[in-house]
């Protein structure tokens, strides 16, 4: 290894001495729609740099325009996209920009030496697998050419294998990606950018096959920022070296915060839960936007599954969605912590849980009188299907089933795809 290759690899992967890199991909501007994240890249770049990003992938033109932001000893590494392809313009993912192109086109736009002149620390190039033989052969030609150029000037070459096209099926996609990873390395890749295979086991195998640093890419943005963090964390767990994530960061309402969270996970060993937590809390309250409710009942089955391991259903869930006839608004019925049940209970069997703030049942005090079931204004306290023994040896035919706020992480709010039921308050109980 000569002419600066190792120092550039270190610049990218060893800013924290841990062999890991949190990188942002912002090279879509000349391949797909000119979306706001593309137009506002300068501002977004400021934010992610302040968040501590390790590297940023840019198109050659943006690399020129935004070069000043990379300056300084602690500045992030600049990665330059050295090729172009029309894949995003072929499909519905960018309808606004779709043109009647039937075939994948892939070509070089810059040489390794030119990238080096722009101040690049590394370049990335695609390798398409599974489209057709001629595209695959052309891609191999481009990758081999870059690998040779990069070796000459000491520039790390990050290859990005993509399994895309008619030969790719649900049954073979992971195999194709794994094979592609190895092909890239054999062609001379110094590192890989690659889609996550969906689970740790198969990704670990891919990372082992690759035997060079592997950066996971993010794909389309999820509205749940947790998704990107979990995916990233799993990539690390499988032995990956970090991420080169685009839309999940650049389309986030707070790209800087997202980078901080990714860095906390990669460099500071935080779990996803801890990285996401913005404040300490022990009291929460659920709220609903019924107008957002699509009636899908995911919250209801999630409630049952979280309380009865391995069981899925809607009966005796601790919340309910009242079906709207025709286009009417669904009613989202859940425990609003109104405390009427606590006030009504004649035997002090219900109380305020000191940690979660949920209503708690003290079975020993319960006489199964049913007053709480009757008084609940939202109708979400139910008779249990089976009875229970109290610690004093008495047997109750049934006991009230009451929302326990899942000990602070309500499943219903977690699974709701539209934010129709959500955690409205996280404040300390005083």
């Amino acid at each position: 290894m000569g002419s600066g290759l190792q120092s550039r690899m270190d610049r990218l992967f060893n800013r924290h001495g841990d062999g890991r890199a949190v990188c942002v991909a912002a090279d879509h501007g000349y391949m797909s729609d000119v979306t706001t994240n593309v137009v506002n890249l300068r501002t977004i770049l400021d934010q992610v740099i302040r968040g501590g990003v390790d590297g940023v992938l840019l198109s050659p033109g943006q690399a020129v325009r935004l070069a000043p932001q990379f300056q300084g000893r602690d500045g992030p590494a600049m990665i330059v996209r050295a090729d172009w392809m029309n894949m995003p313009r072929l499909g519905t993912s960018n309808v606004a920009n779709a043109v009647p192109q039937r075939l994948l086109v892939h070509q070089k736009v810059i040489t390794a030496a030119q990238a080096l002149e722009l101040g690049a620390t590394a370049i990335t190039i695609y390798l398409f697998l599974g489209y057709n033989d001629s595209i695959e052969a052309a891609g191999i030609d481009i990758c081999a050419c870059f690998a040779a150029e990069c070796r000459q000037v000491g520039l790390p070459c990050i290859m990005e294998p993509l399994a895309y096209g008619g030969q790719v099926t649900g049954a073979n996609i992971v195999e194709i990606l794994t094979l592609g990873a190895r092909m890239c390395v054999e062609l001379g890749a110094d590192a890989l950018k690659i889609p996550y295979t969906g689970d740790v086991k198969s990704f670990r195998r891919l990372v082992e096959m690759a035997d060079v640093p592997v950066l996971v890419l993010g794909g389309a943005r999820s509205e749940y920022e947790r998704d990107a963090l979990e995916l990233f964390n799993e990539g690390l767990e499988a032995g990956g070296s970090g991420c080169l994530m685009g839309r999940n960061v650049t389309k986030s309402p707070n790209p800087g915060r997202m980078i901080e969270q990714l860095c906390d996970i990669a460099h500071n060993g935080l779990s996803v839960d801890i990285a996401l937590r913005t404040e300490e809390w022990d009291f929460i309250r659920l709220k609903a936007h019924p107008a957002n409710c699509t009636g899908c009942d995911l919250c209801v089955t999630a409630c049952v599954a979280s309380h009865d391991r391995g069981l899925y259903g809607t009966h005796l869930a601790r919340l309910s969605i009242t079906p709207a006839s025709q286009s009417g608004i669904h009613k989202v019925m859940f425990c609003t912590l109104c405390k009427k049940c606590i006030d009504t209970c004649p035997t002090d069997a219900l109380r305020w849980h000191t940690q979660t703030g949920a209503v708690e049942l003290l079975v020993d005090n319960c006489t199964a009188c049913g007053d709480c079931v009757d008084v609940c204004p939202t109708g979400v306290i139910f008779h249990s299907a089976s009875g229970i023994h109290t610690s004093t040896g008495e047997y109750l035919d049934w006991y009230p089933i009451i929302c326990d706020l899942c000990a602070g992480e309500p499943e219903c709010a977690r699974v709701c795809p539209t934010g129709a039921i959500f955690i409205a308050e996280r404040v300390e109980l005083t």
Binding site: L90, G91, T92, S93, N94, V95, A98, V99, P100, Q101, R102, L103, Y131, N132, G165, G166, Q167, T169, G170, A171, N172, I173, V174, T197, G198, G219, A220, R221, S222, E223, Y224, D227, E230, L231, N248, A291, T294, G295, C296, D297, L298, T301, A302, V304, A305, D308, R309, G310, L311, Y312, G313, T314, H315, P323, S325, Q326, S327, V415, P417, T418
Partner: protein, 606 residues
């Protein structure tokens, strides 16, 4: 083997004989379940094993089998999906139709993996399933009522925790394009509504308070997390949430594959006014999700001046009544959609009939006198509304028009070349001449022209292959067909498949059932087996190579205009290649070797 109840099944098939009014509960074919999974697989298995292929579709002996899958009723994305399998009166083939809504999960919670109906009641009846209590009730008061009136009446009689499946007048009168409806969602294609009508069964209501128990709870929760994440991290599903299924209309038009004027061309001049974004901006007010669906591609429209509103229109409906009839007004499309949903028609087939009749009229083959004085020309909204209303109410000419394109073409042999159907099922919204893999799927699919049995639509809207080339399309279709059969058996909707792939589904299925599918490819093979079961039924019913074909408009007349200008479908080479890949003989009949490879020889008693 561990009990099926601990593997996400109920292990109960409810069988109702409408002739005697008796019912019984039988277990699932336990040993076969790993081979067929459930859903489509179970339906095909039961139909093939229990019904002789010669049984006429509208005779009492024809079974109609409603089935859900192992994932139905769990928290999997779109786990409310269910289907029905029967012999179709429109095609005479095996026919399975699927539906979202809330009835499928309800049947599962009531304790049944399948409901097998046979016989014929001697008066109109309503089937009531309240967990283990089952009874037939008089349905005289519902007779002749529209779908929504029937549904509302049942909701008032039974309450909000019941779900209904109903037919409208076209179903009662056994018309070939009648569907079965759970509120606004339908088992639409193939005339399944007519089969229900032939049994004198107006509606089925169900309530269930049971649970589904998965095999590996931790594994399943983990698989759910991965599946939902994959769905959320997909730009295609995001687009579906925003613009419904209509989001693809733009790109299909750009690709020259939007069938226009009864498939005379592949681009529509007013496509922009029918796009998903146009409907979103002007009409849609609220999202609708089926049970367990995080996408919510369903959209309610703002009521029109006359107060009518719909949940829709879907892409297929927009095609059928829009470009296919050269109608560019959204309000007309909404009205036509309303008529179909209100009375219980399949929108694809109804629109196919209207477009066909318009062309017949313009060519002078049909006259106003044949059509109760209606003079339908392309682009005539009034005529389209009048025709669909007559079909919906089964009045006048609507009575024979509602038998579908193939039946109409029987009477007018000179119209055969542009009767756009395969085996009697009207063609969906992708022009075969501009999408060769899809053309192959239309020709071969077990229920006739169908885009949902493995048509590789990605050739049109994800650029995954060149749509105008036939190269590799046989393999592409084979892969998609096997993949789709797994989804229909599991049984989930195809839309999460824009994000999660067969791998995520495999993780869900193996955790839910504990069946031994070591690799994703092993599960894909289950799909191929299930498609083959359907093929075997068709072969036994007399369907072979000569039936795997397309109208002359696709095979002989070059398409005019657009990117596919000058293209016809080169079907023969694709068909040869496909039969070879599948291990079928030249006549399209699965060989002994093929059945052996799929472990079907013994099962089929060959």
């Amino acid at each position: 083997m561990m009990k099926l109840q601990d593997r996400s099944y109920c292990d109960q098939i409810l069988r109702v004989d409408l002739t005697s009014g008796k019912f019984e509960v039988t277990p699932l074919p336990g040993d076969a379940m790993p081979l067929i999974l459930g859903g489509k697989g179970l339906g095909a298995w039961l139909l093939l094993n229990e019904q002789s292929p010669g049984v006429e579709p509208l005779s009492p002996d024809n079974r109609i089998i409603f089935h859900n899958g192992p994932l139905t009723g769990t928290s999997a994305p779109t786990a409310g999906r269910f289907g029905c399998t029967t012999r179709s009166p429109a095609t005479g083939t095996y026919c399975d139709s699927y539906c979202g809504g809330y009835w499928g999960s309800t049947l599962k919670y009531a304790g049944y993996d399948a409901l097998v109906l046979s016989g014929k009641a001697n008066m109109p009846v309503l089937l009531v399933i309240d967990n283990e209590r089952v009874e037939l009730r008089d349905a005289a008061h519902l007779l002749g009522l529209s779908v929504t009136k029937t549904t509302e009446t049942l909701r008032e009689e039974f309450g909000l925790d019941w779900q209904s499946l109903v037919i409208g007048p076209p179903g009662e009168k056994q018309r070939n394009i009648a569907g079965i409806f759970n509120d606004t969602r339908a088992l639409a294609r193939g005339g399944v509504g007519a089969v229900m009508g032939s049994k004198n069964l107006k509606a089925i209501v169900a309530r269930g308070t049971g649970y589904v128990r998965v095999y590996d709870p931790e594994g399943y929760q983990r698989a759910l997390q991965l599946a939902f994440r994959a769905v959320r991290m997909s730009s295609e599903t995001t687009l579906l949430s925003r613009e419904g299924t209509a989001n693809i209309l733009d790109i299909i038009n750009v690709m020259g594959a939007l069938p226009t004027r009864n498939f005379q061309s592949g681009q529509f001049e007013y496509a922009a006014s029918l796009s998903g974004s146009a409907f979103a901006e002007n009409h849609w007010v609220k999202d609708y999700a089926c049970f367990g669906c995080p996408i919510a591609c369903g959209k309610y429209t703002r009521p029109l001046e006359d107060g009518k509103f719909i949940e829709g229109p879907e892409y297929e409906t927009i095609f059928a009544f829009g470009p296919n009839c050269a109608i560019g007004e959204r309000q007309t499309v909404i009205h036509l959609n309303w008529l179909c949903d209100e009375y219980g028609l399949d929108t694809i087939s109804a629109g196919g009939v209207v477009g066909f009749v318009m062309e017949l009229f313009e060519r002078g083959i049909l006259r106003a006198a044949d059509l109760d004085g209606i003079e339908p020309r392309f682009g005539d909204s009034g005529a389209a509304l009048a025709l669909v209303e007559k079909m919906a109410k089964v009045e006048g000419c609507g009575s024979w028009l509602a038998q579908g394109v193939a039946a109409i073409a029987e009477q007018y042999p000179e119209a055969q070349a542009f009767a756009m159907h395969v085996k009697g099922l009207e063609m969906p919204a992708y022009h075969p001449n501009a999408a060769k893999g899809t053309a192959l799927a239309y020709a071969v699919s077990e229920r006739g022209a169908c885009h949902l049995r493995g048509a590789p639509l990605g050739e049109l809207f994800s650029g995954s292959a060149d749509p105008l080339s036939i190269g590799g399309k046989a393999q592409l279709f084979r892969d998609h067909q096997a993949d789709k059969a797994v989804w229909d058996s599991a049984c989930l909707c195809c839309f999460p498949g824009y994000g999660m792939k067969l791998k995520e589904l495999w993780q869900l299925v193996t955790a839910a059932t504990g069946f031994d599918y070591p690799t994703v490819a092993d599960l894909e093979l289950v799909g191929e087996r299930i498609s083959t079961l359907a093929r075997v039924f068709n072969v036994r019913a007399g369907f072979v190579r000569q039936h795997d074909t397309l109208p002359a408009r696709n095979l002989e007349q070059p398409l005019k205009g657009g990117p596919a200008d000058g293209h016809v479908v080169e079907l023969t080479p694709m068909l040869d290649e496909y039969y070879t890949i599948m291990g079928w003989d030249d006549n399209g009949i699965p060989t002994g070797g093929c059945l052996n490879r799929l472990n079907l020889s013994e099962a089929l008693d060959l």
